[in-house]
Symmetry: C2
Subunit: 111 residues, 2 copies
């Protein structure tokens, strides 16, 4: 498939990017990409995102060194979410946790 099938939001210009660890298969984080972030990710092989709070493009790990080497990028059925499978250097979360999803809200008790 072509990158042109990715549907960047008409208003924000973004798609949701789910990031999964290639080795452990843990879901590491959720971020956002615009066209330029995707372009730079593909051209460099390292994950780039759009920061909604700072309103700027950034390379994951540019400050911390915790970069993400991208193995593959999948797009979902309706084209508005990406799945990046990455080799995470160090930790993904700014809190020092390996994954940003380190807090449990609910656990099934009857399974």
């Amino acid at each position: 498939m072509s990158e042109s099938e990715i549907k960047f939001d008409a208003e924000t210009g973004l798609v949701t990017a789910v990031v999964q660890d290639y080795g452990t298969r843990d879901v590491l984080m959720v971020a956002y990409m615009n066209r330029e972030a995707l372009k730079r990710t593909i051209s460099t092989g390292y994950a780039h995102y759009w920061s909604r709070s700072r309103r700027k493009l950034w390379m994951k790990g540019e400050t911390s060194g915790n970069t993400q080497r991208v193995r593959e990028i999948m797009v979902d059925c309706d084209g508005d979410a990406l799945l990046l499978v990455v080799e995470q250097k160090g930790v993904a979360c700014h809190t020092g946790n390996r994954t940003c999803f380190f807090r449990r809200v609910y656990s099934a008790t009857h399974v």
Copy 2:
């Protein structure tokens, strides 16, 4: 942690929900939840989402039978994304694919 730490978007009332298969650890889909969807998910043990296109609450599999039994729900560091770990009955995608992420956009050639 408490559910009150989940930050539903001030404008839309939604959080992003990433859904992962408990057994295979595949990322199955991305959906959205409002407070009511989360409440019903926790009270029933089955995933409920908010459909942005249909503007209604729905239980995954209510029509298809492809329900998602929720094993656990994690929240990310900044509270605006959830990770649902589920037992997927049948397939997750309306296209008949096991996961909604069945199309590849990019594959690293030099790893």
